[in-house]
């Protein structure tokens, strides 16, 4: 039974008369976001070696998707990333539309963009809350989670679901904005912008946060590209790359997306990067709402349940709040996808960087390090 002291079980070796022991950071650990684990080999409080222990969330998505109809998979894909589900739908639909070689109506593009950016807001709020909780600032976490709910409410109004929206379908989106939605969205955006001042005082300008995160998990400009980091983590290291600008999809070509970059590359810079992008996202939604055209919201592709996609393949990528979400879809001309492969944005950070950064780090900083890189285990495991 588990009654024998775990110390005896976890002691694995001796090095220079110091005991090397195993400490399980996750999957059941308050500092771990999601069902994921690092097995840390430690001397005292210092980590000497890390073994990522992934796969607790593995559901075999790529296999399941081969067995369902093209449109049925829309219900499956958002579940790959729980915190930021919309990029999955959009990437999957964009890949199908690429193979079909169709161009969706402009209004549908804008609606997709708006949901994507709302999803980004909610994910950023969750990420900032996780960072706050990792350093013990539960007040910020509480307020941020409550504010995230305002966006989820809007999602519920628009799509009928709080978390998994299934809003984008091949050829467009499911339904149009309801009356009064835009006004309400503006109100929420104003509220979030006001709250940002409070977050700054509470979290981003807090001297203790600065002390704790400064210099933690430094990634240089070259390394960020070399290790395959994407999204805010890449931009926080001074690389001005953003899928929304470089390989535009949805309505981003019509919108003037401002790419925010910072020099620094440590945890503090990454935290502030998220905060700056949060502000920019609010502005982007405002711009999108202003320039959104009227018109159709989806193409007529016939009965979607009987949708047949011609033989071919496509890779579609979407900038999610954590980085590049990519879907590689292969069709053999049938009713079901032949193969869908998913590129989650967290893998390089969660698995590779963990092995580079965590050794020599103290146990104190693991949770904050993980939150600052916005590692989302479900998209590693798939």
């Amino acid at each position: 039974m588990m009654d024998s002291p775990s110390y005896m079980l976890s002691k694995i070796a001796e090095k220079d008369n110091l005991t090397v022991y195993e400490l399980f950071f996750g999957p059941n650990h308050p500092g771990m976001h999601g069902n994921f684990g690092y097995v840390l080999e430690m001397i005292g409080t210092e980590i000497v070696k890390v073994r990522p222990n992934a796969g607790h969330l593995h559901r075999g998505f790529e296999k399941l998707m081969e067995q369902k109809l093209w449109v049925q998979n829309i219900a499956l894909v958002p579940r790959i990333c729980v915190a930021d589900p919309d990029p999955n739908e959009v990437a999957y639909c964009t890949a199908i539309e690429k193979i079909l070689r169709v161009d969706i109506p402009d209004r549908a593009k804008f609606l997709r963009t708006i949901t994507l950016e709302m999803s980004r807001l909610s994910s950023f709020l969750m990420g900032m809350g996780a960072l706050a909780a990792a350093v013990g600032l539960y007040t910020a976490m509480n307020i941020m989670t409550a504010d995230r709910d305002l966006i989820l409410d809007l999602f519920e109004w628009l799509t009928g679901a709080r978390v998994y929206h299934m809003f984008s379908i091949p050829g467009g989106v499911r339904n149009d904005l309801a009356d009064g939605f835009v006004e309400r969205l503006y109100k929420v955006l104003d509220h979030l912008e006001k709250r940002l001042i409070e977050y700054d005082k509470l979290l981003f300008e807090n001297p203790i946060i600065h002390k704790r995160l400064k210099g933690l998990g430094y990634v240089s400009k070259e390394d960020a590209v070399k290790y395959g980091l994407t999204g805010p983590n890449l931009r926080a290291s001074g690389n001005p790359y953003d899928v929304r600008v470089d390989d535009p999809y949805a309505a981003y070509p019509y919108l003037d997306v401002r790419v925010i970059t910072q020099e620094g590359g440590d945890a503090l810079t990454r935290a502030i990067q998220i905060r700056l992008e949060f502000e920019e996202t609010i502005n982007l939604i405002r711009r999108a709402l202003k320039t959104m055209p009227e018109g159709e919201i989806r193409l007529n592709l016939g009965n979607l349940s009987a949708l047949k996609v011609p033989k071919g393949e496509a890779y579609a990528k979407v900038e999610s709040s954590k980085g590049e979400f990519g879907y590689y879809v292969v069709s053999d001309g049938g009713m079901k996808p032949y193969r869908v492969a998913v590129r989650g944005p967290s893998l390089p950070a969660g698995l590779l960087l963990a092995q580079k950064h965590l050794p020599k780090m103290k146990i104190d900083d693991v949770a904050a390090w993980m939150a600052s890189l916005a590692i989302c285990p479900p998209d590693i495991d798939k």
Binding site: P5, S6, H29, V135, I363, D364, D365
Partner: protein, 294 residues
Amino acid sequence: MIAAIRVFGYSLFAIFIGLLFMGIGRKIIARIQLRLGPPFYQAFLDVGKLFARKSITHNFVMDLGMIMSLAGLLSTMLFVPVAGHMAIKTSSNLILIIYLMAIGHLGMAMAAAASGNPNATIGVSRALTMMLGYEIPFFTVMLGLIIFNGTSSLELIAQSQAGGILNWNMVKFPLGFLAAEIALQAIMGEKPFDAMVAPAEIASGPMVELGGKYLGLAFLTHAVSIFVETGIMVNLFMGGASNVFTFVLKQFEIYLITILIEAVFPRFRIEQAVKFLWTVPMSIAVVQLAIILL
């Protein structure tokens, strides 16, 4: 016999006040976090539940350690004058209190270390490191007050402040009060100095293997420690009190400050915490000591 009843009554009173403070503290934090929060008597429910649970012990050292920690703090409490009343009369209780308080913490450390969980061991080493950090500035402030009053009796120090708010040491020695207040934050183990518990880092540290009655005892220990620590502060800086009700009210004021700081600060890393305690409150305390001596 009467002495025994007195001791028992005092202990119950301290536990009651401590648990009440814990509940109210949670409520206040909840309100700061825009929540409703648990009822103010939540801590009593928690303790009641914990004692009704099955508990797992690892060895007898763990049992002994938990009892030692509660007993250590309860015996400290007996020397804290509550509005002029004391369970056991002595003439120089401040020194005694300082030493007895350590026993409580050591008992907790013993129990946690006996559980064998690496998280608990890290937590204990952090708690003891933190002790090193806060005791030096706190004792420096105390030393100043002992020198000023020429006595180490907490009761006499409290009495010397009688006669209005302007006579309180809090007003007379604002720097000392500030230093003691920062150190108190660490003594109570509240943020930003809660590295020993730190759920996100070491999964609640020393408490990681405690469940059921052991956690209940830890709760009671924490309750008594709140009573003792706020009690010392009231006697040292707020002039004691003429009746029990005012005393508890003053204690609550001290606790309120702690809670409000706790709600809006993240936590230091342990080495940062000790460095902070040895620089900021320490230098304030030294300046205060110099003012008193000169």
